[in-house]
């Protein structure tokens, strides 16, 4: 039994290594620069529901986002990074408090342009790993066809939850209904892109022209797993500062730690940031799909042991 378990883990870690190499090949071939940004940082990005792990007077990054955007502002037009991120208290079948993120940014692009990157990346990695565009996850065959279903957040909520979060945003109901009513109705046999989020649910994202209530953000779901998040990045320093301040106020009201504003990031926006778009993709979850593994623990060599579900 133990031997079988170990050999299964070896198989998965071999696919993981190959997939990481495939991701690197993909971006390098397209002229992206692989970068590393600090893992231990003075202040994490302000997000309403993301808590950072303290690290001796500093913090472990919850995402490389703000440093990556500073590179874009400094003139690096296409950058990508693979690295560890840390989120306090996140532990479940799809969450480990330390996990591996792929992020890439493209100057002069919007969220639809980087959706094209994502499709090409998925096809590239699948060809390297399995030789085809079909994968089987939890008994369901998933076709990675070039055309992906797109659904706007308001359509998805009106259809499956019976209300429109873009017109009347309700933060509390939004997350609960997304998980309990909307996501379970997504097709499992093909990718689906949920897009155009209420601005209130996208702190770092640019709004649609003439529609300040809608943010240019998408989330990609494959096999029911949320695998990537993308924005047309917010480049307006005044609006960004306001959104951070608003988030800080909400965190204070919720009794959560309020992180200082990332002033070097805001200065970079003030100095001039080109239009750009970026994607954050959970590599552990990608490996889960590629290896038909139900839990994030299955695809990492080591995992946190703080959940009662650990066996």
């Amino acid at each position: 039994m133990m031997l079988r378990h170990l050999s299964e883990k070896k198989r998965v870690l071999a696919v993981r290594s190959k997939a990481f190499q495939s991701v690197r090949d993909f971006f390098v071939a397209r002229g992206f620069l692989e970068v590393e940004t600090p893992i231990r940082i003075p202040t994490p990005a302000l997000e309403l529901h993301i808590d950072a792990e303290p690290s001796a007077g500093m913090y472990l990054r919850t995402s490389p986002e703000l440093h990556m955007k500073r590179l874009v502002a400094a003139g690096y037009e296409k950058v990508f990074q693979i690295g560890a991120c840390f989120r306090h208290g996140e532990r479940g079948d799809l969450h480990n408090p330390e996990y591996t993120m792929l992020e890439w940014y493209r100057a002069g692009a919007n969220y639809i342009d980087v959706l094209a990157d994502t499709k090409a990346l998925m096809a590239h990695v699948m060809k390297d790993i399995s030789g085809g565009l079909t994968l089987t996850y939890k008994g369901i065959s998933i076709e990675m066809l070039p055309l992906w279903d797109r659904m706007t957040v308001d359509d998805a909520f009106i259809l499956h939850a019976g209300w429109d979060p873009v017109k009347n945003f309700n933060a509390d109901r939004f997350d609960l209904d997304l998980v309990e009513k909307v996501e379970p109705n997504f097709p499992k046999n093909r990718p689906i892109v949920l897009m155009d989020y209420p601005t209130r649910a996208a702190a770092l994202s640019r709004c649609k022209k003439d529609h300040p209530e809608i943010a240019e953000r998408w989330e990609l779901y494959i096999g029911g797993i949320e695998i990537a998040n993308a924005f047309s990045e917010l480049t307006d320093p005044v609006e960004q500062r306001n959104r951070f301040m608003e988030c800080a106020g909400e965190r204070r009201e919720m009794g959560r730690e309020v992180y200082a504003l990332d002033e070097p990031f805001l200065s970079a926006l003030e100095a001039g940031m080109p239009e750009c778009a970026g994607v954050a993709l959970g590599l552990d979850r990608l490996v889960m799909l590629l290896t038909d593994s139900p839990r994030i623990d299955d695809v990492r060599a080591f995992c946190a042991r703080e959940s009662g579900n650990d066996t």
Binding site: H49, G89, D93, D175, V179, E180, S307, G308, N309
Partner: protein
């Protein structure tokens, strides 16, 4: 088998410090109190939509009546810690519907027939049991996995019928009716599995 009982007669007083669990404490196997009743978390999953709040999906089993339910909690959830206490006691005697146990100091504790359910048939004098209390009230009893009982009545096995799986009815001390192999006779002592109420083996012949 009804693992948990509905009613109560036994009370113990126990010093207790009350704690609250927050959402991030929730996990499989944790026992919590909801609307005054103790529950066991039988399944747990953490979910968090991108940029959204953490959601804590729990399936529960009611420790008093065995019913199950599912609830999803948010980050700000608070659940009480149930005042549960386990005590090892020994069985003394039955007095009508009262079943009397005693602790090491020979203090007597009553458990009702209702709480015991079918397990009342498996009580043997001086066996050690675990009793689970909620707010000082006995809600469940755990017996040893095996108890020994003498057969007080059974018909003799039919000669020549040697098929191994053939069973016949028998009654053991305390009135429990059980199916035993043909070779078991009145006066034999048999071992019973208290988890399913079935015959396990014969311990001694008359």
């Amino acid at each position: 088998m009804a693992m948990f009982a509905r009613s109560v007669t036994a009370r113990l007083s126990a010093p207790w410090r009350r704690n609250m669990y927050c959402a991030s404490d929730l996990r499989k196997g944790l026992r919590v109190e909801i609307d005054g009743a103790p529950y066991l978390i039988t399944e747990f999953n953490f979910k968090k939509p991108g940029k959204g709040q953490g959601l804590y999906e729990c399936k529960f089993k009611n420790l008093v009546n065995g019913t199950t339910m599912q609830r999803t909690y948010r980050d700000n959830a608070e659940l009480g810690e149930p005042k549960l206490e386990e005590k090892k006691l020994r069985y003394s005697y039955a007095d009508g519907d009262r079943y009397v146990f005693h602790d090491e100091s020979y203090n007597e504790v009553d458990v009702s027939a209702e709480t015991l359910g079918d397990r009342k048939y498996f009580l043997v004098e001086d066996i050690e049991v675990n009793i689970l209390y909620h707010n000082g009230i006995a809600i469940d009893i755990q017996l040893p996995n095996f108890v020994e009982k003498a057969v007080v009545h059974t018909e003799p096995g039919v000669r020549g019928d040697t098929a191994t799986n053939v069973l016949k009815p028998a009654t053991v001390t305390g009135g429990y009716e059980i199916r035993v192999p043909l070779f078991v006779n009145e006066g034999d002592v048999i071992r019973i599995d208290t988890r399913n109420g079935e015959y396990l083996d014969r311990v001694s012949k008359k």
